[in-house]
């Protein structure tokens, strides 16, 4: 009996390891995309004009946590293929140490350019220094790092979250520029302390400050999720009788809030004007149905721009230290038109 118990324990342990191992493998499956790498990895910093097929780009992605991120990954993979570069792709599964490992292996493989979306802001100085010493230029995409020494990376390509907030505020100011009564705004913030939440809030507040009738009467975090967005909006609806505008920091929270508004017997988009950021598929769908009035795009399709930067860096051309992704905005009508051709 005792022996069986022990064997059971061993079996269970093995099973758990297999299970964990299987998950790891599956998540890391994306690494297969690195594919058959070019054997003659060119030494860094040599030629000024390189053929596209000789250029190797090492890219370390945050993970696959959302539809936005998946679209981002796909855009980079597709445009690398289009440009004819060899792409070494690595998925960090939301962990900084994986990303540091990936960057170190890129340095060892002597890739021409390293690009990555940092999982967190801090703690990159050492590994970036290593890349600099190896003479490999680094491009940050989508998220920034807080290194004091900006010479550690060539450029930061990504969205300007403050500008996104401003765009949302501008549309609202425009809509209510002639109003004589107070417009009550409620705000669903992103995860407290995250850069998108802070910046989208700041940009929006900055613009609407010019119109004294636009008042943010309640602002609470919805953690960028639908469930929280719904829960918080329900509480807002109970606590405030007269809500005119909802500003959500991403589409998911807006979608949750729409359900809460509908449950309260109000019409989203009509009784309450809804502004949101991101323009993911479900959000655009809701916008085309008139449930979201205005969406500010946060563009994940930064592959083509990244490839241009890579080409310029390899050619030794100067690159601006901050490059903002091209982003547009959608009203309900524009969303209806754009929806069929959206890639994500």
């Amino acid at each position: 009996m005792k022996r069986i118990g022990k064997m059971g324990a061993v079996l269970a342990l093995t099973l758990s390891m297999v299970m964990l191992g299987a998950c790891g493998n599956n998540n890391g499956g994306n690494q297969a995309n690195s594919g058959n790498q070019a054997t003659k990895a060119p030494a860094a910093n040599t030629g000024n004009t390189k053929e596209a097929k000789d250029i190797t780009l090492g890219f370390s992605q945050v993970g696959a946590e959302s539809g936005w991120r998946s679209a981002n990954t796909k855009s980079i993979q597709d445009s690398a293929k289009e440009a004819g570069y060899t792409l070494k792709f690595s998925d960090a599964q939301q962990k900084q140490e994986n990303q540091i490992k990936a960057i170190r292996s890129f340095i060892q493989q002597k890739v021409d350019v390293i690009a990555f979306s940092p999982v967190v802001e801090s703690g990159w100085d050492t590994v970036l220094k290593e890349a600099k010493d190896a003479g490999i230029p680094v491009v940050l995409t989508d998220r920034a790092v807080d290194s004091k020494d900006t010479s550690l990376y060539v450029t930061f390509l990504g969205s300007d979250f403050v500008e996104e907030g401003r765009k949302a505020g501008q549309w609202l100011s425009e809509k209510y520029k002639d109003t004589t009564e107070d417009i009550n705004i409620v705000e669903l913030q992103g995860t407290t302390g995250s850069a998108p939440a802070n910046d989208r809030m700041a940009g929006f507040a900055e613009v609407i400050a010019s119109n004294p009738h636009l008042k943010v009467i309640a602002s609470q975090t919805g953690d960028f999720t639908r469930a929280k967005g719904k829960e918080v909006m329900q509480a807002f609806l109970k606590a405030n009788k007269d809500i005119d505008v909802l500003y959500a920091h991403n589409d998911d929270m807006a979608l949750g809030a729409i359900q809460a508004i509908e449950a309260a017997g109000l019409k989203p988009g009509q009784d309450i004007t809804i502004i949101s950021v991101d323009a993911v598929k479900d959000g655009m769908q809701a916008a085309s149905e008139g449930k979201i009035n205005f969406i500010v795009e946060c563009n994940p399709m930064l592959g083509p721009q990244l490839m241009d930067i890579v080409q310029n860096v390899v050619d030794g051309k100067p690159v601006e230290a901050r490059i903002v992704t091209k982003e547009s905005t959608f009203t309900s009508e524009q969303a209806k038109e754009a929806l069929p051709s959206r890639p994500y």
Binding site: G8, C23, G63, A64, T221, D223, E231, A239, Q259, D282
Partner: protein
């Protein structure tokens, strides 16, 4: 009066009443309940509706805690079950087909049983400490949920599925009936059969219970399975409430809220005794607190601090020794000179 004061539900109920009283003064609309196309609408209904998944998870957790165990994986099971149900429905041609909904629910609950059994086997047969054994699934479960959803948020447009989490039966949210049903099942099983006694005895001393003829391993296995099922159903309610499955965020940190609800309800983490009704009150306290914080407009930066202060106060009030110490200080106030003399005498 003394009997009432000693009752295990006395302090939890006092705290709940205090929270509601605060709302009565601070936001009078809190108690207003109106009718909206056939269902009741108001903050109290919201608390019941949003609290439903937490109550369910906490009921399962109570029984696990009663065996001196702990289940950290409930949040992950919530995510997996919601993800599997939504995936099944989204694959179907007619998302409103009743058969499809039933199959997806059965699949999700079936998988929860398996996951619960996995936890139970690790704890009972393999003899791993519960906190470690369930930690495995807590971490791996998020990965499994993301595998199921493919890292995306799966949206379903099925009015039948969304009925579970946001539909109304007899003007009350349907989820409440699910919770009441599970509560009755748990109460009948533990209080009308000897299972409750078995659970308590295993919680006190598994070896002694085994000597007394109780199959301790089976008892432990069954409570983890029950906890898994509760979490699975909670996952269905949560995902159907927003008609989508989010592998990353659904049920995140649910295990902590559930454990807190169990403890507020008067069940000791040392095992051996449990109070299911206390747990329900505990979960309601947590949900009321959350809703209150949203309604009174606490800035998001300090929300967690406010929450932790209230929880700290709740735990202190419930602590017998803390109350005794305060009471003793109050009753026997000594002057410095008197203190001095007492010290010298003793």
């Amino acid at each position: 009066m003394g009997k009432l004061y000693k009752h295990h539900l006395f302090w939890p109920l006092c705290i709940l009443a205090a929270l509601l009283l605060f709302n009565l003064f601070y936001s009078p609309d809190f108690f207003s309940i109106t009718m909206h196309d056939g269902h009741l609408y108001g903050s109290l209904i919201d608390i019941l509706n949003f609290g439903a998944p937490l109550i369910l998870v906490a009921i399962g957790m109570t029984l696990v805690v009663a065996t001196k165990g702990i289940d950290l994986s409930v949040g992950s099971i919530v995510a997996i079950s919601g993800a599997l149900a939504c995936l099944t429905i989204s694959k179907g041609t007619d998302q409103n087909a009743l058969g499809l909904i039933v199959i997806s629910i059965l699949l999700a609950v079936g998988l929860s049983v398996l996951l619960g059994a996995w936890n139970g086997l690790l704890v009972s047969v393999a003899g791993i400490q519960p906190i470690i054994a369930t930690l495995i699934l807590m971490v791996a479960g998020r990965g499994i949920a993301q595998l199921v959803t493919g890292g995306q948020i799966i949206t379903v447009s099925s009015s039948k599925y969304s009925y579970i989490g946001s539909g109304a039966l007899a003007t009350l949210p349907f989820s409440i009936f699910v919770v009441v049903l599970m509560l009755i099942v748990a109460l009948l099983l533990t209080r009308k059969t000897s299972l409750g006694l078995f659970i308590e005895s295993v919680g006190c001393n598994p070896t002694a219970s085994l000597m007394a003829g109780i199959r301790a391993n089976w008892v432990i296995l069954s409570v983890y399975v029950f906890c898994g099922v509760c979490a699975g159903i909670a996952g269905l309610i949560l995902s159907s409430n927003v008609s989508s499955a989010d592998g990353n965020n659904a049920g995140l940190w649910y295990e902590l809220d559930a454990i807190l609800a169990v403890v507020i309800g008067g069940t000791s983490l040392n095992g051996g005794r449990f109070y299911l009704t206390g747990t329900v009150i505990g979960a309601l306290i947590i949900q009321t607190l959350t809703t209150t914080i949203y309604m009174i407009g606490v800035p998001p930066e300090i929300t967690l601090v406010v929450k932790s202060f209230v929880v700290l106060a709740v735990c202190l009030i419930q602590s017998d020794s803390f109350r005794a110490a305060i009471f003793y200080r109050w009753k026997t106030r000594h002057y410095p000179g008197e203190k001095e003399s007492i010290r010298h005498v003793s």
